[in-house]
C-alpha cells in the first residue's frame, strides 16, 4: 500500500474535527448503553440510529455507526458479567466465567479483563480492516456478473447454515428475504413485480424500515411476553477490588487474546457469521489450547478474555467484505450497509479510490472508537450497569416511538412506517416459530445482486452458462465454497449425532 501523505493529513483533519469526535464519543457511550441493556442488540442499535446519521456528514455518521457497533458488542458483556444476563447474544459465552468471577467478588477484575480484551480484539480487527480491505477491494475489479451471482449465493447458503437451530428454517428465512426482494419494479424490463397496485411499493421494500421492524419492533413484542411474570430481582454483587489485572495476569491471557482476535477476524469475514458465533469459537479454542481446561466455567480469566477478544474482533472482520464487495459479514453489518447506501457510498474499489478520504477516516475512527471504548469502559463500567435497571415498561414505548420516528425520517414517508410495522409482525412470528430474522435482511440485500448477476451472466455466456462459469477461476473457487457451505453443517450434525450415540453407549 502506498502511503500518501496528503491523504493522511486530510484523514487526520477530518477525524479530529469537532463533529466527528462528538459523534465518536456519543456512539461509543451510546453503544455501551444499548449493548448492556438485555434485549437491545448491536444490530438493533445501528438500525435505530441510521436515520439519525442521514442528516449528518458521512464521516461523522459512519464513524458513529461503527463506534456503536463495536461498543454495543462490548456493552453486552457488562450485563453478562455483573447480572448474568448477556446484553447481546455475542456475550453469552462471557457470562459463563464472568458471572462466576462476580460471585467470587471479582466482578471488577472481570470487567477489567473484558475491557482490555475487547479493546485489543477490536483494535486488531480495525488494523486488519485497514490493511486487508484495500488490496481485497482490487479483487472486486475482477468481479463480473457471474462472480457477483455466485458470491451472493455463497452468502445466502452460509447464513442459512450458520444460524442456530434448523438448517431448513435458516435457509427458508433466506428465501423469504429473496421473495421480499422481488417486490418492486424490475430494472431490466420495467415491470412492477408484486406491488399489488400500490405505488409506494414500485421502488421496492425500503431496507432500513424493514430492518428496524424485524429487529426492534419484534423484540418489543417478545419482551411484552414477560409481562405479568414476576420480575426476577437482578441481584448485583458488591463490586470491589481493582479493575486492572496485574501484569502477571495480563501476560497469562495475552496469547489467548491474540488467538481469539485472529479467530474473530476470520469469523467476521465469513458472510453471515457474527459476534455470537465468534465468541463461542474463541471460547472453545481457548479451552482446547488451555493447560487447565477444567477451570473453564468456574470463573477463570482466560474464559472471559477469549470470547471477549473474539466478539469484538468480529466487528472489524465483518466490515472487510462489506466495504470491499458489499457482502455483509454479520447481521449488524447488513444493517450498516443500509447506512452506507444512504450516504451514497457503494461498496467496492471506489470506496478506496474516489471516496478514499471518507473511507480511511471512518476506518481510523473505528480504530479510535475501540480505544475510546476501552478508556470509557475502565472508567465507567461500574456506572453503566445501572442502566440495566431501566424497566421494560419504559424501554418498550421508547423503542416503538424511535422505530416509528426512524422509519419515517428516512424518506419523510408514512408508508415506510407501515412497512416497519408489517416487518415487525413478520419478525415476531418468525422468531416464535424458530426462523431467524437475520437471513431475511441479508437476502434482501443479496437477492437483487444475485438476480442481476444471473441475468447478465446469461447474456454474457451466450447460452452455455455452465461452461462460462467453469471457465472463470474465481467462479470455480466460489462454487467449491458454496458446496462446502451446504455440505459442512450436514456432515457436522451427523458427526455430532454419532458422538452423542457413543457417549450414550458408554453411559
Amino acid at each position: 500500500m502506498v502511503i500518501n501523505p496528503d491523504l493522511i493529513l486530510t484523514v487526520l483533519t477530518k477525524l479530529f474535527s469537532f463533529e466527528t469526535l462528538l459523534a465518536l464519543f456519543a456512539g461509543t457511550l451510546g453503544g455501551m448503553i444499548i449493548g448492556s441493556l438485555p434485549g437491545l442488540s448491536a444490530t438493533m442499535g445501528v438500525a435505530l440510529l441510521i436515520p439519525v446519521t442521514f442528516g449528518m456528514d458521512p464521516v461523522a455518521g459512519l464513524t458513529m455507526l461503527s463506534a456503536i457497533y463495536t461498543s454495543a458488542v462490548y456493552g453486552g458483556s457488562i450485563s453478562a458479567i455483573l447480572i448474568h444476563t448477556p446484553g447481546t447474544p455475542a456475550s453469552a459465552a462471557t457470562a459463563l466465567d464472568g458471572y462466576q468471577m462476580t460471585l467470587r467478588g471479582e466482578g471488577l477484575k472481570a470487567m477489567g479483563i473484558t475491557t482490555i480484551s475487547s479493546m485489543i480484539g477490536g483494535f486488531l480487527s480495525a488494523v486488519a480492516l485497514l490493511f486487508l480491505a484495500p488490496p481485497l477491494s482490487l479483487i472486486s475489479l475482477k468481479f463480473n456478473a457471474p462472480e457477483y451471482f455466485l458470491i451472493a449465493i455463497f452468502g445466502l447458503t452460509i447464513i442459512g447454515s450458520l444460524t442456530t437451530g434448523s438448517i431448513i428454517k435458516g435457509l427458508s428465512a433466506g428465501v423469504i428475504g429473496l421473495i421480499v426482494g422481488l417486490i418492486g419494479t424490475d430494472i431490466i424490463t420495467g415491470f412492477p413485480r408484486y406491488t399489488f397496485g400500490l405505488t409506494p411499493l414500485e421502488s421496492g421494500i425500503a431496507l432500513v424500515p424493514a430492518m428496524i421492524g424485524l429487529f426492534s419492533l419484534s423484540q418489543v413484542l417478545i419482551q411484552v411476553e414477560e409481562l405479568g411474570k414476576v420480575d426476577k430481582e437482578k441481584v448485583m454483587a458488591e463490586l470491589k477490588g481493582r479493575v486492572l489485572p496485574t501484569w502477571k495476569e495480563f501476560k497469562s491471557i495475552f496469547i489467548t487474546i491474540i488467538r481469539s482476535s485472529i479467530l474473530g477476524i476470520f469469523v467476521g469475514i465469513l458472510p453471515g457469521a457474527g459476534g455470537d458465533i465468534g465468541s463461542w469459537v474463541g471460547y472453545n479454542e481457548a479451552k482446547r489450547f488451555s493447560k487447565n481446561p477444567e477451570k473453564f466455567g468456574t470463573g477463570c480469566i482466560e474464559g472471559v478474555a477469549a470470547p471477549e477478544a473474539a466478539n469484538n474482533a468480529v466487528t472489524g472482520g465483518a466490515l472487510i467484505p462489506l466495504l470491499t464487495l458489499g457482502i455483509p459479514g454479520s447481521s449488524t453489518t447488513a444493517v450498516l450497509l443500509g447506512g452506507l447506501i444512504i450516504q451514497g457510498l457503494i461498496p467496492g474499489r471506489e470506496l478506496f479510490t474516489t471516496h478514499a478520504k471518507i473511507t480511511y477516516t471512518v476506518i481510523f475512527g473505528f480504530m479510535l472508537a475501540n480505544i475510546l471504548m476501552g478508556i470509557c469502559g475502565l472508567l465507567a463500567a461500574k456506572h453503566i450497569v445501572k442502566v440495566t435497571k431501566i424497566p421494560s415498561a419504559v424501554l418498550g414505548p421508547i423503542i416503538v416511538v424511535l422505530s416509528v420516528v426512524g422509519s419515517y425520517a428516512i424518506n419523510n414517508n408514512i408508508f415506510d412506517v407501515y412497512v416497519m410495522v408489517a416487518f415487525g409482525i413478520i419478525g415476531y412470528f418468525m422468531r416464535k416459530t424458530g426462523f431467524h430474522p437475520a437471513p431475511v435482511v441479508l437476502a434482501l440485500i443479496l437477492g437483487p445482486m444475485a438476480e442481476n448477476g444471473l441475468k447478465q451472466s446469461f447474456v454474457l455466456s451466450k447460452g452455455n452458462l455452465l461452461g462460462y462459469f467453469l471457465g472463470r477461476p474465481i467462479c470455480i473457487v466460489l462454487i467449491i465454497l458454496i458446496v462446502l457451505a451446504i455440505a459442512s453443517p450436514m456432515i457436522l450434525s451427523k458427526l455430532e449425532q454419532k458422538r452423542k450415540r457413543e457417549v450414550q453407549a458408554q453411559a
Partner: protein, 154 residues
C-alpha cells in the same frame, strides 16, 4: 388425549400456498421478469414441503411417550395474547399518526402502552412522555429538519 399437531405442519402448508399463489402471478409478467421469481418460489415450495415433513415427524414425537424430551415449545395463539394486545396498541398508534399528528399520537401511545405495562405511577408516565417528545423534537425536528405529519392537532 388430544392429538397435538406441531406448528411446523401449518407453516409448511402456508409456505406452499404462498409460493403457489405468487407463482400464479408470474403468468402476467414478461419472461425476463418472471424467470428469477419462478426459481425462488420453486425453492421456497421445496422448503415448505421439508418443513411440513419435519412438522409431521415432530408431531409424532409429541404424541409418543418421548414427548417430554422435546425442548421446543409448541406455538399457539392462546399463549401470545399479551403481545397481540401490545401489537394492537401499536397498530392504533400508527393509524392515528396521520389523523392526530405525530406528537399527539405519540403521547397517547406512551400513556396507553405504559398503562398496559401496568405502570400506575403518573409521575413515571409523564416523565417518559416529556422525555421522548423533547428528545424527538430536538434531534429530528430541530437538527434533522424532519417534517412529521401534522394531522388535526400537532
Amino acid at each position: 388425549m388430544k392429538r397435538i399437531i406441531h406448528h411446523d405442519v401449518y407453516i409448511g402448508i402456508f409456505m406452499l400456498l404462498i409460493s403457489l399463489f405468487l407463482y400464479s402471478m408470474t403468468g402476467d409478467m414478461p419472461e425476463g421478469s418472471a424467470f428469477f421469481p419462478k426459481i425462488i418460489l420453486t425453492i421456497f415450495a421445496f422448503f415448505g414441503v421439508l418443513v411440513f415433513i419435519q412438522g409431521v415427524r415432530k408431531s409424532k414425537v409429541y404424541n409418543s411417550e418421548n414427548a417430554k424430551k422435546m425442548e421446543e415449545e409448541i406455538f399457539s395463539f392462546l399463549k401470545i395474547k399479551t403481545p397481540m394486545a401490545a401489537l394492537l396498541i401499536v397498530l392504533v398508534y400508527v393509524a392515528l399518526l396521520k389523523i392526530l399528528g405525530f406528537f399527539s399520537a405519540t403521547s397517547l401511545f406512551i400513556i396507553a402502552f405504559m398503562y398496559f405495562y401496568q405502570v400506575r405511577s403518573i409521575k413515571k408516565i409523564i416523565l417518559t412522555l416529556i422525555g421522548v417528545n423533547v428528545f424527538v423534537y430536538l434531534l429530528f425536528v430541530l437538527q434533522l429538519n424532519v417534517a412529521f405529519p401534522k394531522g388535526l392537532l400537532f
